[in-house]
């Protein structure tokens, strides 16, 4: 026997990652995804304004509009601060006199101002992407909208993968009656138009939203309606995963190493989840990324028709719906355009990343 040369042994994941790194487009997708997730996660830090702050005087302003605002305490102190858009102001020792947008003159006592510091009570925010019809900052809403889109896509996809993998694995491994029953069920789900089914689930689950919220208060974290949206999309989009996993199991269960696990005395559950599933992981990851992209679109569609996350939470689909009226009237195309670009960008990024991932994992199988 010859001596074994000292070579560094790496896991198959290491090789896949190395292949993936060489794929420029996939890495671009990955970078965009990471940036989007960072935007979503740190929206409270990055967003220039509260996304739900309405400044009606500033409604429908174009990109780059510069505001001029006095910030005063709201009456009673429990409500958020009040933003008074002004044209100009003169600061006196006790009162600030100012001219409102529109020309009317007014004044406010210094004690009502948000603080004694002029930099805080007088602000000139720039609305980089303009404002919507309620005078809300579009950029801030986009950033907060990413949070909804990505979290819905993520959790819906986790639910979908869980159901799809479980059913697909059982159907593919046991075949026969188990397969027939699962595939019958899958085909029933599949035969409905996707968005219709999501709507049905969403409206049905709406009744139980308080029950879910008492367990995990997603409504507080993401927006009211988060639970039903997660579940509705998750419960309807597992079909592709299920079919792919089933197909994988059909072929993998016939391989010698699976037969060998039976000969070693392993039970079916151990064989399915410890031995076959890791081999089907490549296709599952790829179908998961594709599903992630379609979940983003599904959430946007659901919001667009008004059954997604409830108002006033910013979502991309809701923003497109809001902007649509203006677009049809030939005004303010940005209101529709920006969230559309955001959706397209997210879907593009996850898709090219998924494609790259498939290539990286596929050639692994040929080793």
């Amino acid at each position: 026997m010859q001596a074994i040369p000292e070579t560094q042994v790496h896991s198959l994941w290491w090789y896949s990652w190395r292949r993936l790194k060489r794929n420029k487009l996939a890495m671009l997708g990955l970078v965009i995804m990471v940036l989007l997730f960072l935007c979503a996660g740190f929206a409270w830090l990055i967003a220039p304004m509260n996304p739900n702050r309405q400044i009606l005087e500033y409604a429908r302003k174009p990109s780059g509009f510069a505001g001029n605002i006095l910030v005063v305490k709201a009456p009673g102190g429990t409500y958020p601060d009040e933003y008074i858009p002004i044209e100009s102001y003169t600061a006196g020792p006790e009162f600030i006199s100012f001219v409102r947008v529109g020309g009317s003159k007014d004044s406010v006592s210094r004690s009502h101002l948000i603080s004694a510091d002029e930099a805080e009570w007088h602000q000139t925010p720039t609305f980089v992407l303009g404002t919507d019809r309620f005078g809300r900052d579009v950029l801030s809403r986009l950033l907060y909208g990413a949070r909804v889109s990505l979290s819905v896509a993520l959790f819906a996809e986790i639910i979908a993968i869980f159901i799809g993998v479980l059913l697909g694995a059982l159907a593919g491994y046991f075949r026969g009656t188990v397969d027939a029953v699962i595939m019958w069920f899958t085909n029933v789900i599949w035969s409905f138009p996707f968005i219709l089914l999501v709507l049905v689930f969403s409206l049905t689950l709406k009744e139980f939203i308080d029950v879910f919220d008492s367990i995990i208060p997603l409504s507080d974290w993401v927006g009211r309606g988060a639970w039903q949206t997660f579940l509705a999309i998750g419960l309807t989009s597992w079909v592709d995963t299920c079919r792919i996993v089933r197909g994988q199991f059909f072929s993998l269960r016939e391989t010698e190493y699976v037969e060998a696990t039976r000969a070693v005395g392993f039970g079916p559950m151990r064989t399915i989840f410890r031995h076959i599933l890791p081999n089907a992981l490549g296709p599952i990851i790829v179908v998961a990324t594709a599903g992630f992209a379609s979940a983003i679109i599904a959430e946007a569609s659901l919001s667009f028709v008004g059954h997604g996350i409830e108002l006033p939470t910013a979502t991309w689909g809701q923003m497109i719906y809001d902007g649509l009226g203006f677009l049809q009237a030939g005004q303010l195309p940005g209101l529709t355009l920006y969230p559309s670009i955001a959706i397209a960008l997210a879907v593009f990024a996850i898709n090219v990343f998924g494609d790259g991932l498939r290539d990286a994992l596929d050639s692994k199988m040929k080793v």
């Binding site: 074994i4 042994v9 070693v264």
Partner: protein
């Protein structure tokens, strides 16, 4: 003390769309501790199905074990629950397969795969399992086992992988090893090494071995006794010397004649005429009658039983043929020529 493995009149049928395939129909053989039984026959003769029946790994449906007994240390394996059977598989009876290239899971290290079997059956800790695995890798002649332990199957050659499969099969000290064409996929020099290894380990560990193959060379090398199978039945069953020096069934004779011998000059190799009939349509009588030059009406109509033709000197020698006299006479003529 009962025999290690005793198969009695095993019948394993497959219920297919084309009818019932009687892949194994009334097979009986036995293997004792420290003994190697060679099972030889061409593809589809039922030799692997018999072995899979012993492991209870016949895919059901469409397969079904219709009758017979498989006694392992006197216990009928066919009466055990799936749970009990699972604790026997890989533990008391192990099996190695034909395809070492694909018999290992590509996504796990070989160490992980041996460990898992050891942990399942021996109920030991991860650290103990690792020691055991490395010891097994060393036993089967893998160099630098500590390093190989952490490697993936694609980093090993075919021969190395078959050694790993053997290490895995033997990791729980089985009493019986079923080797289903363990050398078919390997090149000739590696074949010899693997057979030598199995022989050596059998002596060291005192296992019974069932060596399934279609290669008579392998049989000659490792077996103590031989069962020749054709069409789901055993047609001849005796010691290895008897099979090679005194074959009595026309099929066995045909098989031996098809081996090219050193020193003889052939323009064409000898073959057995015809092909094996489908398992769903075996003839009513002797299954070999479609290809046998001795076959007459009786062969087609009535099935011959295995009968002992052995003498005191030769030991038991079972043959299932109606025309032993004619076959023997022809053979004598051929030999004197």
């Amino acid at each position: 003390m009962s025999k290690l493995l005793e198969i009695k009149n095993l019948q394993t049928f497959f219920h297919t769309d084309d009818g019932v395939a009687k892949s194994v129909d009334g097979v009986s053989y036995e293997v004792d501790r420290g003994e190697t039984l060679g099972v030889v026959g061409e593809s589809g003769c039922g030799k692997s199905v018999t072995a899979l029946s012993v492991m209870r790994l016949i895919p059901m449906p469409p397969g079904k074990i219709e009758g017979g007994e498989i006694l392992f240390n006197g216990r009928d394996l066919l009466k055990l629950t799936e749970e009990e059977m699972r604790s026997i598989r890989g533990n008391e009876i192990s099996m190695i397969f034909q395809e070492p290239m694909t018999s290992l899971n590509p996504v796990f290290t070989i160490g992980h795969q041996i460990d898992e079997a050891v942990i399942l059956h021996q109920k030991v800790s991860k650290a103990e399992a690792k020691l055991r695995s490395i010891e097994m890798l060393r036993l089967v002649g893998i160099p630098a086992p500590e390093q190989r332990y952490g490697e993936y199957p694609h980093q090993l050659s075919g021969g190395m992988r078959q050694r790993v499969m053997i290490a895995m099969a033997l990791s729980c000290n089985p009493q019986l090893l079923i080797a289903d064409e363990p050398t078919t996929a390997l090149d000739v020099t590696v074949q010899a090494q693997i057979l030598e290894l199995i022989n050596k380990l059998q002596k060291e560990l005192g296992m019974g071995v069932v060596m399934i193959t279609h290669d008579l060379g392998v049989i000659a090398e490792v077996s103590d006794r031989v069962a020749v199978m054709y069409g789901g039945k055993i047609v001849e069953y005796s010691s290895v010397d008897e099979i090679f020096h005194n074959p009595q069934h026309p099929y066995t004779i045909g098989l031996l004649d098809s081996i090219p011998r050193m020193g003889e000059h052939h323009t064409r190799l000898n073959t057995i005429e015809g092909t094996v009939p489908a398992a769903t349509s075996y003839p009513k009588g002797c299954h070999f009658c479609t290809r046998c030059s001795f076959a007459d009406q009786k062969c087609w109509a009535e099935e011959p039983r295995l009968a002992d033709t052995g003498s005191e000197a030769s030991g038991h020698h079972y043959v299932a043929c109606w025309h032993l006299d004619r076959v023997a006479a022809t053979r004598r003529v051929v030999e004197t020529e």
